[in-house]
Symmetry: C2
Subunit: 105 residues, 2 copies
């Protein structure tokens, strides 16, 4: 996704997912597209921003910790997490954060 997420007034929540990929696609691109589509259908989803160079960073925004927990437990997402852990990522970090303020142009 290439646009700034149009999030509401804080507070809301951010999941910062930072990762290094393994070599080769191995089904990654199709899964990534599907997870973007699926995340956007979840209750409490507010938006997503993503960029990758050596490091990939995807930030998804959510209304509440419950919305994040529900998304993490989504069956199709769980399968993607499993394959990510085993196959697609050589390293990753997930950080769950409460957005307290924001500003911009």
């Amino acid at each position: 996704m290439s646009e700034l997420a149009n999030t509401p007034e804080p507070p809301y929540y951010a999941v910062i997912f930072s990762s290094h990929r393994t070599d080769g696609d191995n089904g990654y691109a199709a899964m990534a597209d599907r997870m973007v589509e699926l995340a956007a259908q979840q209750p409490g989803f507010l938006g997503m921003e993503s960029a990758r160079e050596d490091l990939g960073i995807t930030v998804s925004y959510w209304e509440s910790p419950d919305a994040i927990r529900n998304w993490k437990q989504n069956a199709e997402h769980r399968e993607a997490q499993r394959r990510g852990h085993e196959q697609w990522y050589s390293g990753f970090k997930v950080r769950v954060a409460k957005v307290e303020r924001d500003y911009g142009i």
Copy 2:
């Protein structure tokens, strides 16, 4: 920066800076390198992660809200913010967030 930030146990703070660039360099690359160097020297700095495709995302990590405020007020950083606003970014959003938990491999 291309490595996952080696942050301590939560809680700590994240500044998520998402941006679209204007065309041309106009001194941007040199400033960006200098800001990475300067941020790393600030009290309470914990790490930084960055990637850019269409959208750029830079996440910096900090010990406390005070550390973030001090960095925002740094004179050289203020000048970079001013030029960013006027010249380098067609749009940006800054989100200040408290990291409540993290995990990874």
